[in-house]
């Protein structure tokens, strides 16, 4: 693998340049079009009655007074069909996995505070909420349990009396022997904090069942429209041909919108029961904090052995993930524990590994995918181990990492969990990050401040490997009844020579229209401005799994590239026939056909497209009209993205206040398609990671009530808390058509470990629990 060093400034490729995003103009002038902007005539609004209790039997639901109110148009509960006969059951073939049946509207039992129980339909949301107040539910309270590592008083599901929904052991080598021979054995208990995705736009949907032809249209702020269509057809007993799912502009997702929720199914079912009436539900922030998926509520019990030279000899871990009340649909309760155990050792060589992971149900909102999926917590755990081993061995935290990195010479490196690392450029990332950070200058300043009254400073480092763009082999782990390895893309040259792309990717603000357009523009050889990309509509694109696992640039981008190349070939074949010149002498560039070595083009793409569509008489024998291709791409394995973050901070010891001084991130994103988008993804992910490291914490009280139910208590960092960042890149191409590695999530992996490491460096306080708040720092200093 040779490193890509940049684009030719005189060249005309689009890939590699920060071209203006196709989305920006409409967003900047306020013409983005979100689900909330969809105002269909006759729309009715839904409000959900949500359980005020974390765990209770429902004895009765009395809707009689609500039905009498003239402003209530309809009320639905889970006691009647179609709601009663359907539940969300995430499937997996993993041994020991226990399925849970998540009701659309809970009717016999509620399992978390915020679980939907009834839906009121009215002409506006205000009246629908008025209607909620008229419903009377009689509950019989059951003991609630919100901690995954305390003994439950009352099981949530009769199928799992110990609340354990999944256990899996990863084993390789001989941990016991290796620990016995270790110079230093580290034992730590590390706990990460429950968080939520909190996109700017909460969940939203409009469903319309058309009685004329029996079709269902569902506009949804989803990250996974094709999966939603597939699931809705099954759950509602409809044909997929009669369901259209549209994800218009979506204001952030972060994984939260990659699940299919009871509320989504409920509004589609209501639409079918009220044919011809558009049914709209827009989640508010209180509902989001309470009932959208949560994540990162984990405990790691880790034992690690090192030799005297700092070599990691063995890693033993017991990982418990709080997965909430239900196994999240369709990803299963395995999503976090399997990721935590599968990649705990990160970018370090390891032979002896023994890790038990488990998914434990509690009376809290279900855990689902959230940017980085378990990795911000597991990197925190692994890097805490590395930092402490370095201290115990008297090594620098940098040297111990160098000692253990998987290197280019090890590639392909089979990890003890059998995942194959194809990167190996961790040390290069670290070197570059150290250079950008200027460690020597930092250490000098740290030394100078010691013994003065100035605030102490510390630095922390996080090294990680993010598995991105998982193909069918790499995505096999959860053993779900689908493999998320492939996407499709259709590329069409229009009769005027412009290009329309129907891609299976989706975008929640990441600029996929731009990224795909850049790939297709170069793939065919046309101007970026002549390519339009249509996404998020199941009637337009053939297939795409959607946005998760940092997969779309790799997989959707690969499909776009393959399709574009097929179209380009046909254009050149047709041009060759028309010009009677050998195809090997023809070049398609800037939307024109050139003969190699000539100064002027011979034909424009528009002229060729016109022949392809309108002048079949000029087509060679056997050539079909049209210029279109659809291709799937599956990378089979995945592409590991190497990343290193280094940050420094100072601590005001009188208040515990942490002030971040400097933040550096170097990632190997493979070939960078659009540098501005890539840097934006990294910066945004780091900001979200800092939020998780220092501020964001979903806290339940002992009764299972969410204490952090508004943004006054669930603290999301503002621009005031986020530092300037220095972002550097390596570009070692991955083994896929574009040479790209996913970059959407990696940034979230570093901050927990960086902040915890830096606080330890500054103050000598070991951080075992996240978030690192000023209060915790202050307490640690007393």
């Amino acid at each position: 693998m040779t490193e890509i060093t940049g684009v030719d400034p005189k060249g005309n490729e689009s890939v590699g340049r920060a071209v203006q995003r196709k989305e920006d103009y409409r967003f900047l002038i306020g013409r983005g079009h979100y689900v909330s902007d969809l105002r269909l005539p006759g729309t009715r609004h839904v409000a959900f009655l949500r359980s005020p209790l974390a765990h209770a039997k429902i004895n009765s639901i009395d809707i009689s007074s609500a039905l009498e109110a003239d402003f209530v148009e309809a009320i639905f509960t889970g006691e009647s069909d179609p709601f009663k006969s359907v539940s969300l059951i995430a499937r997996s073939a993993l041994p020991s996995y226990i399925e849970t049946a998540q009701p659309i509207l809970a009717w016999d039992k509620v399992r978390f505070s915020g679980e939907p129980i009834a839906a009121v339909v009215a002409t506006d949301r205000y009246l629908a909420e008025d209607g909620l107040e008229l419903i009377e539910v009689e509950y019989e309270r059951l003991p609630a349990n919100v901690s995954a590592w305390s003994t439950p008083a009352e099981p949530l599901h009769k199928e799992a009396l110990d609340n354990v929904l999944l256990e899996r052991r990863f084993q390789s080598g001989d941990v016991k022997d290796a620990l016995a021979g270790a110079e230093v054995v580290i034992e730590r208990e590390l706990i990460s904090n429950r968080q939520g995705g909190n996109p700017l736009e909460c969940r939203a949907g409009v469903a319309l069942f058309e009685p004329g032809d029996g079709t269902l249209q569902f506009w949804s702020g989803t990250q996974v429209p094709h999966l939603v269509r597939n699931a809705l057809a099954e759950l509602m007993g409809m044909s997929e041909a009669k369901i259209r799912v549209v994800a218009p502009d979506v204001g952030g997702g972060f994984g939260t919108k990659a699940a299919l929720y009871p509320e989504d199914v409920a509004i589609c079912m209501i639409a079918r029961l009220m044919p011809g009436t558009p049914i709209k539900w827009v989640e508010d922030r209180a509902e989001h904090l309470l009932s959208a998926t949560h994540a990162r509520d984990h405990r790691y019990l880790v034992t690690a052995g090192f030799s005297s030279d700092g070599t990691l000899l063995a890693l033993k871990a017991d990982v418990t993930c709080n997965v909430g009340a239900y196994s999240v649909y369709p990803w299963t309760a395995g999503i976090e524990p399997l990721m935590a155990g599968g990649l705990l050792s990160g970018p370090y060589r390891l032979e002896n590994y023994d890790c038990m992971v488990r998914a434990v149900a509690t009376n809290s909102s279900p855990s689902g995918p959230y940017r980085g999926v378990a990795r911000p917590a597991s990197v925190f755990a692994m890097e805490a181990i590395m930092d402490e081993a370095a201290r115990r061995l008297g090594m620098s935290t940098i040297d111990i990492r160098r000692k253990n990195f998987i290197g280019p010479q090890d590639i392909p490196y089979k990890m003890p969990t059998r995942l194959v690392d194809d990167s190996g450029h961790y040390e290069r990332c670290l070197d570059k990050a150290l250079e950008l950070f200027d460690l020597d200058q930092f250490l000098e300043e740290q030394q100078r401040r010691r013994g003065t009254n100035e605030p102490p400073i510390g630095f922390g480092v996080a090294c990680y490997n993010e598995l991105t763009g998982l193909g069918r082999a790499a995505s096999a782990g959860p053993r779900m009844p689908f493999r998320t390895g492939h996407d499709a893309c259709t590329v069409k040259v229009n009769p005027d020579g412009t290009v329309t792309v129907f891609s299976g990717v989706t975008s929640q603000g990441q600029g996929l229209e731009t990224t795909v357009a850049q790939i297709v523009a170069d793939g065919i050889g046309v101007d970026y401005d002549d390519v339009q990309v249509r996404i998020g509509n199941t009637d337009e694109s053939l297939w795409g799994f959607g946005a998760f696992s940092s997969r779309q640039a790799v997989i959707g981008g690969g499909a776009a590239q393959l399709s574009a190349l097929v179209v380009r070939d046909k254009v050149i074949r047709l041009a060759s026939e028309l010009l009677e010149i050998d195809i090997n002498d023809l070049i398609l560039r800037d939307g024109k056909i050139w003969v190699a070595g000539e100064v002027e083009p011979r034909l424009s793409l528009a002229e060729i497209a016109r022949v392809a569509y309108l002048e079949s008489n000029r087509l060679p024998d056997g050539m079909e009209p049209g210029l279109e291709a659809t291709r799937f791409y599956d990378p089979i394995r995945g592409a590991f993205a190497a990343g290193v973050q280094i940050g420094s901070l100072e601590v005001d010891v009188s208040t515990g206040e942490i002030r971040i001084l400097k933040w550096v991130c170097v990632e190997d994103a493979g070939r960078v398609i659009n540098p501005a988008i890539v840097d934006g993804q990294i910066a945004g992910a780091i900001a979200q990671g800092i939020g998780g490291a220092m501020y964001e914490h979903l806290i339940y009280d002992g009764d299972g009530n969410l204490s952090t139910g508004t943004l006054m208590d669930y603290l999301i960092p503002t621009s005031g808390e986020i530092p300037e960042m220095i972002i550097g890149h390596l570009q070692f191409p991955a083994d896929n058509p574009l040479g790209v590695r996913g970059v959407g999530e990696g940034g979230t992996l570093g901050p927990n470990a960086v902040i915890a490491g830096a606080v330890a460096d500054a103050l000598g306080i070991l951080v075992d629990q996240l978030p690192v708040t000023e209060g915790a720092v202050w307490e640690g200093l007393q």
Binding site: E129, S654, E657, E774
Partner: protein
């Protein structure tokens, strides 16, 4: 998260506004000015007034006037933004900069903040420390209330159901200090301290440690009894303040931590008072 039904009227004068309040039988009418505290309460249905009386269009309540060499009168509709911009009271300028974010400061009003009586909000704390006097009107009454007596408990003030704040008279402190620690820029402080010297007497009020701004009487005594404000005396006063408070802990900070913050922030505010300089150089206005 949509308000329960309510009626809405626009008042043209303070007298009309309080008459609206008086005319509501169940006494559940509420004044709305900037809405920065009331609107979230309405949206969460934690407040369910039957009538909202909008006073935003009453003329004459958005002014700050100098009524003597050492006092100003602040109309109830003066926005936090205007407190930031005014130069009569550097203490109010400094404290108002700490309120929320610019959108909040643009709408929120001094009367609204005082009437809302959030024990962690900046203006009630400053009002107590500076010894402000609140001018109140009812349908047939007009009276003044010392800030010290205005706040009764969390979100509780001493206004009758049919009274509103019309203006606030604020002494201009000779010396002052203000210190706040919030988890994020713009949040309510975990602990906020205002210290103000008016006519030679220093008062210190602390927010975030009780159901209303709490005076640090022992610390005040130490400062007022001493001729000079030495570092040693400041430390002593700060420790006395910390020893006198009994805050509740929550997930934003334990009781012990808040007590620690009281000590540090009282120290900072007294140092600032002693030096006569604001210690923050950031201009958030």
């Amino acid at each position: 998260m949509k308000p329960a039904p309510f009626d809405y009227v626009v008042a043209a004068s303070p007298r009309e506004a309080v008459q609206y309040l008086a005319d509501v039988e169940d006494a559940s009418a509420k004044i709305i000015a900037g809405g920065q505290s009331l609107m979230p309460l309405l949206a969460l249905r934690l407040a369910r007034p039957s009538l909202l009386v909008d006073i935003n269009r009453i003329p004459g309540l958005e002014t700050i006037e100098r009524i003597s060499e050492t006092t100003i009168r602040i109309g109830t509709l003066v926005r936090h933004r205007m407190l930031c911009a005014q130069t009569n009271s550097p203490l109010l300028h400094e404290a108002a900069r700490w309120i929320g974010h610019s959108a909040i400061r643009t709408r929120g009003t001094i009367g609204g903040s005082l009437a809302h009586a959030d024990p962690a909000a900046e203006l009630p704390i400053v009002a107590v420390a500076a010894g402000m006097v609140i001018e109140v009107m009812g349908p047939s009454t007009q009276r003044t209330v010392d800030a010290q007596d205005f706040f009764i408990g969390t979100l509780e003030n001493s206004l009758a159901d049919d009274e509103m704040i019309v203006s606030v008279i604020s002494p201009l402190p000779e010396r002052w200090g203000f210190a706040e620690y919030a988890r994020r820029h713009g949040d309510f402080g975990l602990v906020t301290v205002a210290a103000a010297e008016v006519q030679g007497e220093v008062k210190i009020a602390v927010g975030g440690v009780g159901s209303k701004p709490v005076r640090m009487l022992e610390s005040e005594g130490l400062v007022n009894d001493s001729v000079t404000l030495s570092g040693q005396l400041i430390d002593q006063a700060a420790r006395a303040a910390a020893a006198s408070v009994e805050p509740n802990g929550d997930f934003h900070g334990s009781a012990r931590y808040r007590i620690g913050l009281v000590e540090e922030l009282v120290r900072r505010s007294l140092r600032q008072l002693g030096s006569g300089q604001a210690d923050s150089e950031v201009d958030w206005s």
